[in-house]
Symmetry: C3
Subunit: 378 residues, 3 copies
């Protein structure tokens, strides 16, 4: 992984995935033991959020601070990017002392990943030409295809919950659509979940109403991985069917692919009026599937009625954050702190991705840090 980027989990072998989890766990244990991890003495960790973010924003800043880097946000409204600057130029201009560039670009379907690739190509060119003394790693903080820092944190959560990655073999995970009174939610989490969890020999079940299909690529990856790993990947047509016998449920809303495509077109064209109409249409369509709510009845269908509930947060909670949403208030409250634990792995996953892409001998460096035993608080 040294010298490269981290854009899509399915571009990496399973040994990379295992390495990320291992390093993240070591960093997390070190932090809980009060050990510092200042690997860098200065240098920037640049973030570029092209969509709103709280937890990923703070996870990225936390990872940077943990490792001794200075988190710096590229706010495109305050830059000169507006007047005709190319991606490859900007990518180099922000990278003279930069170790990592984290990007969220999930609003435009078929475009987010392409943008990240363009940034990665640009810093690669700059590094090879000697413009940059170091080659910043580009890390995907959510694109139109994948959300690797989320799904790797999810996987680490499963590893900790079930004891080991091997213990996940044969476990049934229901990745299902859920009703939400909002529209335009990215597809990257369900896509990333099915394309990652199938690699661990899990039985991954995907469920969504008609029309809420995911991008073909991650679905194909999920099929391929299930075959390779001895797990399975199946699609069913109701939340009930997906939940039946599940060890883990991940009920989460997303927009229909076709809607995301029209939305991307309209956003590009600045068609605000048409966007409003699209939203109304989409909300009306969503409303047909109001019963796709994770409530106590549905939870009773899972293995012993005790499946692990997962969510990338924030969840649309019926009666709390909306009138009717993805999950019933009692179910969510039961698992609330568990979802916080799930989220808590993300800063360490991001830190692990930075170390593995930026250090030649990551393991050796961690060993040195531990041997030194410097506390992060005097």
């Amino acid at each position: 992984m040294h010298g490269g980027d981290f854009l899509l989990t399915w571009q990496h072998g399973i040994e990379d995935i295992r390495a990320v989890l291992l390093v993240a766990e070591v960093l997390e244990e070190m932090h809980r033991a009060g050990l510092g991890a200042q690997v860098f003495s200065g240098g920037l960790a640049v973030s570029n959020f092209r969509d709103k973010s709280t937890r990923t924003r703070f996870s990225f800043a936390s990872a940077a601070s943990l490792l001794g880097l200075t988190p710096t946000d590229l706010d495109e409204t305050k830059s000169q990017i507006s007047h005709g600057e190319t991606v490859r130029e900007t990518a180099n201009m922000i990278s003279f002392l930069t170790e990592v560039i984290g990007i969220r670009d999930d609003l435009y379907i078929h475009e987010g990943h392409e943008y990240m690739k363009a940034v990665a190509d640009a810093v690669e060119e700059g590094f090879r030409a000697g413009v940059l003394a170091q080659r910043p790693a580009v890390i995907n903080l959510q694109c139109d295809r994948d959300h690797p820092t989320q799904t790797l944190a999810d996987l680490l959560h499963l590893k900790r919950t079930f004891g080991s990655l091997d213990a996940l073999r044969g476990k049934r995970l229901a990745m299902t659509w859920a009703y939400s009174p909002s529209y335009g939610k990215p597809l990257s989490v369900p896509q990333g979940v099915i394309a990652l969890m199938t690699r661990l020999g899990m039985e991954v079940v995907l469920a969504h109403p008609p029309g809420y299909d995911l991008l073909p690529e991650p679905v194909a990856q999920a099929r391929r991985f299930a075959e390779q790993s001895g797990g399975s990947f199946t699609q069913v047509e109701s939340m009930d069917a997906a939940f039946r016998g599940a060890d883990i449920v991940y009920p989460k809303s997303w927009a229909p692919l076709r809607v995301m495509e029209r939305r991307t077109e309209l956003l590009r064209g600045g068609r605000t009026d048409a966007l409003d109409a699209l939203e109304q249409e989409c909300l009306a369509r969503n409303a047909e599937f109001r019963d796709w709510e994770c409530d106590a009845d549905k939870m009773r269908l899972t293995r012993d009625g005790k499946a692990l509930y997962m969510h990338c947060l924030p969840a649309d909670i019926t009666g709390t954050s909306c009138e009717a949403g993805e999950v019933a208030a009692d179910v969510f409250e039961h698992y609330r702190l568990t979802t916080y634990h799930q989220a808590g792995h993300k800063p360490f996953v991001i830190a692990a991705l930075i170390l593995l892409t930026r250090l030649e001998h990551c393991g050796q460096t961690l060993k040195t840090l531990i041997e030194r035993g410097n506390h992060h608080k005097l």
Copy 2:
């Protein structure tokens, strides 16, 4: 104080107040002697400004940088808080590697302090559940009730000016309303001043025009503290009466409580039109008390005509920043650099609050830092 928060000075014993001042002074002396104070090796210092700020914003960032933390601002417009995320969730999501959360929430009367308590409760819950490896301290950077980092800096200023805390015993401090051509200024500074200075045996006099009452709680605290400390707390009805014989004057505008309450209602309701009407009404009311200006004549009423003038800044200066305001230009200019000194204690007060809440043995750590003698500049 270790493991807790700092929300209202009157929730803390006088020994806590003395400890904060002492640690702040030590840090200030260390800084002036060129000694570094990097207690932390990474970790976030999160600020959440729900109202504009310059000096507190920079004081917080300065304190963080001084101690080795990474200042990070939670900009609610860039987060997902907008779509239905609860305070307790966000509080945990920003805290996985966070040592301190500084909050300014002074726009909504009866609400700011409640918000801070909710954040503190949330991180306490997260810490106890093992979600957070450390329990961030919540520090009040100004709420509807108190502005402790301001008033503690004010008190340190008095300590330095008069030589010691004991020397403040019997000193007369006039906390008085002053005219300003603006409206909606928080009540937290006068409330915080009367509830803190009465604890040092000072003779605190509060003056304001009819209708400009403060919240009952800090007024009651002031009365109680004056009794306990052997000082006094009195209320008079003119600036002249307050200034007479005063050793210290603190003339500062604030809004009538009733106006803040209506304003809070209207802001919550998004009633922009009614807000404009309220502003006009309030400005008209203020204008009846234009003579509440701290000018040379009023200063002559003070002890030997030489009282110490204090202001939390920025002041509305007649003829400089407005046509008629809180203080005459010549009076302000005479004390201008003094008010800068007053403000200069704030970064160190904040740093002291961080150390006292986050370290088990703050004194020992400071001793270690001093013995090491590392300079903050190579």
Copy 3:
């Protein structure tokens, strides 16, 4: 330079200029060799961008991070500056733990430099009065007169390209206006270039269409410096004349001085309607000089057809970022990576300015850093 500011290159002797370049080169070599340069243990590096910025913003943050300072942006929209706070007060309020204040103020002609001087005077006063424990250096990140961090990076680029500063003697540099379909571009780059490059014995040629004159002061400085250094400063009336025999070309658009003056007036008056009219008029005027484009034909006029092309970026590239602009796409592409190298010196120039203004014995400190040999990556 210790204890002072860096506002205009022509306020400094040539030995200062040489020192900046030397320190910048040492820092750059150290960085490429993997050596850290954490001179400071905490402290703020405040930036105040009153106009958009990408590369200078990141250069400043990079320099701060490299040296161990915390970059902190003063966002005037989030501060209380709006309600009548004076420059001298704010300057002190943000400086209690601040080592450097970098300012960009290039929108208002005849005002940017004055603002920087006011900030510098204020922190000088605060330092002398003991308000500030240290005297932050004010560094010009582009004003109405000069853009020293750009032109010093440019000069370092020339030094590296031609081998030494002495090798620049007699080299012909064409600083010429170029067509752009935008208006209101600052004059500071051409002004800074002619007033700096003439000091190295270069033959500096300035060309622009009638009406696009620069401010008299830097032009006078250029004349004076050319005389002193044995170089020359001439003005010609076409891009062709300037390019003929040039070793270096710097074709870049800027607004007519008279337009900047009217624009400043209108911006101050909030006259949006009149601003639009001015823009139209200005664009129409620019369009008369569409042939001021740096294309392959013009490049053939330069020495052996191989002059070094320079630009401060972003360039208006014909057919790439606009229909017709400052430079033809093939010319720009040929020199693209070269312009990235040019830009890459800026973080180190800023770091050098910080060290030279803030350290008493900068050379000794660098020697200590190199001897210690601490790597910036564990």
